[in-house]
């Protein structure tokens, strides 16, 4: 195993297992003394009241005895939660000890034995709900207009079970959404109903209205001439007058009707004729006729697919037919085989509607509405084993894990069939399914979501780099959409053509549109380019490559009207390399404010160069430990302005200086040379991509026990030339994906909480 970590760590810690002995010495010699000095006051192992006993460890080997505890020590150091209060711990030591522990735990990851982890019960997130409804009913239902948006957590994705809460509002919205969806999917035959009125008695009838629309209401008169006034009252609203409509044709016995057209809403309605005149009301019948609205052919087809009959068709044994429909629907909605006991409760709802005389379609709608609100549909149910151990997940559970991972939707027939045959745990079958699923266009939702949430580019044009009126000459909503698509399409190509994941750092191509060519100011270099939709294009020069230098990433790592080498550097360390730096310590004195000379009033003008302001970080040792890591990488990207466009000079005309040097000695000038340095750190990068995709796939926070899986996956990936599909396949074949942990699982996170440093701190 070769493990090149961050270069500065490499200086301190030998990086191969061959020198594990030296590592052990390192702990006794330079790590424990630091901890002893700073932590003994509260965590003295000799004190019986102290229950947090990491200081019992004397050699590196002892760290393995309590990995969870040590993971916590590193995290607390990194998060600055410990040591509490005033502390003499230097920033260099804080960083060094945290990295040492992380590194040590990683090198010995597999010593703890097999680990599968337990996934919290997950509800469908908004995207999954929408896709599942699409596949179940053929309806594209825009959930963002009705469901509150989902929180993210764990590895930073919206698939994370721990943050998929069920807020009180949600049940109400599920009910509402189910009604709207079924109203679109199932056509209720037009209502035409005549009620006999009994003059002299109550002139009110009760009628169930199924569809919100216009109704023609006709009251038939019992005499050719009526002296009084007739009007109509729905529920308790004010009466509306009925209009006398003479009979068609001529002849004796033809009587007038009194009509009105009203919009009525769904529900049981009380409709009353009001007669103001002498004697009993001269009326005989009241007819309601729904305004015809012939359904479109595709809607009819959809209805037929679901119900196996045309709207209003005469069904011989409706209850039996309904049972059949429910059986088929439930299997897909529950994503597992269903028993009679699963169907029975929904049939009681069918009966409820049947008893009050609803049409067949409405009876089914009521039953199906309950299905769409039931926990078996809304949650990805998995059976738990209470006894400790690792258990393979069930066939159908695995089918769901797979389809929600790669498609964000329910398993299709092929997956369900394989599950029914009990073949899904077969590695060969699984591998073949992964390929099939990645070839399916449905896998685009994975690329889009994963890249957008991992990099944070999904918020571009909204919360990040918002659309500002002052920019609308070159930065418009379509441009922002193209910018968001760029890194996604690069990843999609890598995935669909099974290319090397290192291309995320090095791809010399991107996906451009006419709009992006203009945005990137490449009209001269790409003269023959014409495309309204993103088109695979070779960059005309080596200024940009891979995802880091895309306009989206460069904008999301900038301040308003100002690039931030600090944020860019921190972003690379966090997002790309998975080696985040701690947050700034509290009460850091602000950097010297910009000295305002004559040009200060000019918008966006920095009176002294950005580089000089930031170099002030290096003076204070509290700042320099981390800024020496972050800032140089950011300097190398200074040629990209705050919107992501190329620039040769700063606002004030100072030529951009793209040079940087890491404490470990690597020197570089500009993005092209930085790229080489990052490619040298490909082991960090590989581990990071692996953890991210694994976290997305598992839908939980990664834990210490996952370190072994991550390292194994990363090694396999490296051996197979970093091919993207190898990683996806190996994740699907991995223990945590295919099994779950029984008994109580202690939760400790595998790595420091995932950073999504969009605008972490402000350079003052």
């Amino acid at each position: 195993m070769t493990t090149r970590s961050l270069a500065f760590v490499a200086l301190l810690i030998p990086t191969s297992l061959a020198s594990a002995q030296t590592v052990a010495d390192e702990f006794a010699r330079t790590i424990r003394p630091v901890l002893a000095q700073n932590c003994t006051a509260c965590h003295n192992p000799a004190n019986p009241k102290n229950r947090i006993n990491f200081l019992k460890a004397n050699t590196a080997k002892d760290l393995e005895a309590d990995r969870g505890l040590w993971r916590d020590v590193a995290t607390q150091l990194r998060n600055r939660t410990m040591p509490a209060g005033e502390s003499k711990l230097t920033e260099d030591d804080r960083l060094r000890v945290a990295h040492y522990i992380d590194n040590r735990l990683r090198l010995t990851a597999c010593s703890a034995g097999d680990f599968a982890g337990a996934v919290a019960l997950r509800r469908l997130n908004r995207r999954e709900y929408r896709n599942t409804i699409r596949d179940l009913l053929g309806i594209d239902f825009n959930v963002s207009e009705i469901f509150p948006n989902d929180g993210t957590g764990g590895s930073g994705f919206d698939t994370n079970g721990e943050t998929l809460y069920v807020p009180p509002l949600l049940a109400e919205r599920y009910l509402e959404a189910a009604q709207q969806i079924l109203d679109r999917a199932i056509i209720t035959p037009d209502l035409l109903r005549t009620h006999t009125l009994e003059p002299g008695k109550d002139l009110a009838i009760l009628q169930s209205i199924y569809v919100d629309t216009d109704y023609d209401i006709r009251v038939a008169a019992s005499a050719p001439q009526i002296s009084g006034k007739l009007s109509l009252q729905v529920d308790d609203a004010t009466a509306v007058p009925l209009v006398n409509t003479p009979p068609r044709g001529r002849g004796p016995g033809l009587l007038p009707t009194f009509n009105v057209r009203l919009r009525l809403a769904r529900g049981l309605r009380k409709i009353a004729v009001v007669y103001e005149g002498a004697g009993p009301a001269p009326v005989t019948t009241l007819t309601l006729q729904q305004k015809p609205n012939p359904p479109a052919p595709d809607k009819l087809a959809q209805h037929y697919r679901l119900l196996g009959a045309e709207p209003g068709a005469d069904i011989l044994q409706p209850r039996k037919a309904a049972e059949q429909v429910l059986q088929t629907f439930l299997r897909k909605a529950y994503r597992r085989p269903v028993e009679t006991t699963d169907i029975a409760p929904f049939l009681t709802l069918y009966d409820r509607a049947a008893e009050r005389g609803d049409p067949y379609e409405e009876r089914l709608k009521l039953a199906l509405r309950a299905v769409l609100v039931s926990p078996d549909f809304l949650f990805k149910m998995e059976r738990r084993n209470e006894r400790p151990g690792i258990y393979p997940v069930g066939q159908f559970e695995l089918a769901s894990r797979l389809s929600y991972f790669l498609w964000s939707t329910s398993p299709d027939d092929e997956l369900l069939t394989l599950a029914a045959q009990g073949r899904l745990q077969d590695p060969k079958v699984l591998a073949a399914q992964v390929d099939r699923m990645l070839d399916d266009p449905k896998s685009r939702t994975f690329s889009g979501t994963f890249i957008g949430q991992w990099l944070g580019t999904q918020d571009l044009g909204g919360r990040v780099a918002p659309m500002l009126t002052e920019l609308n000459t070159f930065y418009t909503p379509p441009v922002a959409a193209d910018l968001r698509a760029e890194p996604i399409l690069i990843f999609e190509r890598i995935l669909s053509e099974n290319r090397s994941l290192l291309e995320l750092l090095s791809a010399d191509y991107s996906y451009l549109t006419d709009r992006l060519v203009k945005f990137y100011q490449l009209e001269d270099k790409l003269k023959d380019f014409h495309s309204d939709t993103p088109k695979l294009t070779q960059w005309p020069d080596s200024r940009r490559a891979g995802i880091i230098t895309t306009g989206a990433v460069m904008a999301l790592t900038s301040h308003y009207r100002q690039t931030s080498p600090v944020i860019r550097g921190a972003w690379i360390l966090d997002t790309i390399l998975g080696t985040p730096v701690p947050p700034p310590p509290p009460n850091v004195p602000a950097l010297e404010p910009v000295t305002c000379k004559d040009n200060c009033a000019v918008e966006g003008k920095t009176a002294v160069g950005m580089r000089n302001r930031i170099l002030a970080h290096r003076v204070n040792p509290v700042c320099s430990a981390c800024h020496n890591l972050m800032d140089p990488m950011g300097f190398a990207l200074e040629h990209f302005d705050w919107t992501g466009r190329w620039r040769d000079n700063e606002f004030d005309g100072t030529p951009i200086d793209g040079t940087g040097a890491l404490p470990s000695g690597e020197k570089f000038n500009g993005a092209t040379e930085l790229r080489k340095v990052l490619l040298d750190k490909k082991d960090d990068f590989t581990r990071q991509v692996t953890s991210k995709i694994l976290g997305y796939a598992l839908g939980r926070s990664l834990q210490d026990g996952d370190s072994c899986t991550i390292q194994h996956l990363a090694d396999t990936l490296q051996k197979d030339n970093y091919r993207a599909r190898t990683l996806i396949r190996e994740i699907v074949l991995s223990t945590p994906f295919r099994s779950s942990q029984g008994g109580k699982v202690t939760l400790t996170t595998a790595a420091p909480p995932p950073p999504r440093s969009q605008r972490p701190m402000v350079v003052k």
């Binding site: 009180p168 729905v234 809403a265 709802l349 008893e355 308003y560 420091p752």
Partner: protein, 462 residues
């Protein structure tokens, strides 16, 4: 459809077209049916409580007046409240002791209305340290109105973890309302959904002249949701028995969510004593989506809150005028560049500080708008503002330095004659903000010995 007015009665009765407002309006004539039976009507307007959260602190010297007299000159931030001079008071030296340090924004948000200690977490174990005061009110009094409480805002829940900011889940910054320490209450940001919520909750299944227990009603379409909820609740119960501890937490949330809809359906069947305001409320049903500009969006949400209070659909509300650390485009303020959070860290640079000051003042203007709306509505000789307590302010004093002392807090509204407004009330340094909440709870009729870290009430409000 041209702009229409919705009659108060329309809202109250719901009639046949509770969700189908556009055509309902066209059906509804100017004069509605007779008033409901006196038995279901309150004799006097009820007291309401509203909490308006403002983001990113203030410029301290532009908020707090000089000197220490009870009477004070309006400071630059408070100028927009000029016409409301005698309708609000500044409450000084209040703070939330448990929010000190750790991070400038995140822990100060859930704690704003709870005074709790907010745990640092990446999201798997959110802990706001307490139930927020609005939710406690809703739990105690919510069954008296169609909606126990209403939570509105303008920004979608934040995502991700702020590692650089100390490892807090950013979603903390999006919630001031907490049903319990672990459950944030989702706020509604889409005007149409918020608006429809008022009506849906009023959708009465009772048809005039029929007994609520009439079988024709029990089996009606209107009662279908109750049957569905019964069914899925039983399923959740059964699943809960099989599930592990972790699963149970989620199923309990689901169960609670289902229960809250049921409670509302049940409540809609019970005759509730309500306050009836006569007349019409000038607000049409908003279109779908989110209004294009932030000012339009916020004002619309405020209008909806006013409507909810006026129609007595709820008596308890919160509005987040923006989420904590908002950095959304604020260029709708003339002279402003970029987002508010950026300029809040102005480092005493004059141009940026000026822009920050303008942002804060803009938020106070919006508060003033809300208060004026309440003041303009008559409730039998008093105004809606007279019958309300509207607390507004931030969880940090200074946006630049995240100061926790002497929070910018003000209280508007007469509290039904229990609050003497137009003053500046200076309390001893480090007086718990929760003392204010305890005072508000008492006025609302909720008898609690303490709330959060309170050590008494604010004695001289009246």
């Amino acid at each position: 459809m041209p702009a229409k007015r919705i009659s108060r009665r329309t809202i109250l009765r719901g009639t046949g077209a509770a969700l189908a407002l556009p055509w309902l309006e066209s059906m509804m004539p100017e004069s509605m049916a007779a008033a409901p039976a006196p038995a279901s009507q309150l004799a006097a307007p009820p007291l309401r409580s509203v909490f308006l959260y403002m983001p990113n602190g203030v410029v301290p010297e532009f908020w707090t007046p000089a000197g220490d007299a009870e009477q004070f000159e309006l400071t630059p931030h408070l100028k927009p409240l000029h016409d409301l001079r005698n309708d609000f008071s500044l409450l000084e030296n209040l703070w939330n002791a448990k929010t000190v340090g750790r991070n400038g924004h995140w822990p100060k948000v859930p704690a704003w209305l709870s005074g709790g200690y907010v745990e640092r977490t990446s999201g798997d174990d959110l802990d706001a340290g307490g139930t927020s005061v609005d939710q406690l009110l809703a739990q105690k009094l919510g069954d008296r109105t169609a909606l126990p409480s209403l939570e509105l805002g303008v920004e979608a829940t934040r995502t991700g973890i702020d590692t650089a900011g100390g490892g807090f889940a950013r979603m903390y910054g999006s919630f001031i309302s907490w049903r319990d320490p672990h459950t944030p209450v989702a706020k509604e940001i889409i005007p149409q959904l918020a608006f429809d919520r008022l009506f849906r909750s009023n959708k009465s299944p009772v048809i005039s002249g029929l007994n609520p227990d009439d079988p024709r009603l029990l089996t009606s379409l209107q009662r279908d949701e109750t049957s569905i909820l019964d069914l899925v609740r039983d399923q959740a119960k059964a699943l809960r028995k099989q599930g592990s501890t972790g699963d149970r937490v989620r199923l309990d949330e689901y169960f609670e969510s289902v229960r809250s809809v049921e409670q509302r359906l049940e409540a809609s069947l019970k005759p509730q004593k309500r306050w009836i305001n006569q007349g019409k409320f000038p607000l049409e049903r908003p279109g779908p989506g989110i209004p294009q500009t932030r000012p339009d969006h916020l004002r619309l949400m405020m209008d909806i809150m006013v409507l909810a209070l006026w129609s007595d659909t709820t008596r308890i509300g919160t509005i987040m005028t923006a989420d904590a650390q908002t950095n959304d485009d604020h260029t709708f303020i003339p002279g402003m560049r970029g987002g508010m959070h950026s300029v809040s860290h102005h480092a005493e640079e004059p141009v940026r500080k000026k822009q920050y000051e303008m942002c804060v003042t803009w938020y106070v203007e919006q508060v003033a708008y809300f208060l004026k709306r309440l003041k303009s509505l008559d409730e039998g000789g008093t105004t809606l503002l007279d019958n309300a307590m509207v607390m507004f302010g931030c969880g940090i004093k200074c946006g630049n330095l995240h100061l926790e002392h002497d929070l910018p807090i003000a209280l508007a509204g007469g509290g039904k004659g229990t609050i003497k407004q137009g003053r500046r009330l200076r309390y001893p340094k480090e007086t718990p903000l929760c003392n204010l909440y305890l005072s508000m709870l008492q006025r609302m009729g909720v008898e609690e010995k303490s709330f959060g870290d309170s050590n008494g009430i604010l004695s001289n409000l009246g």
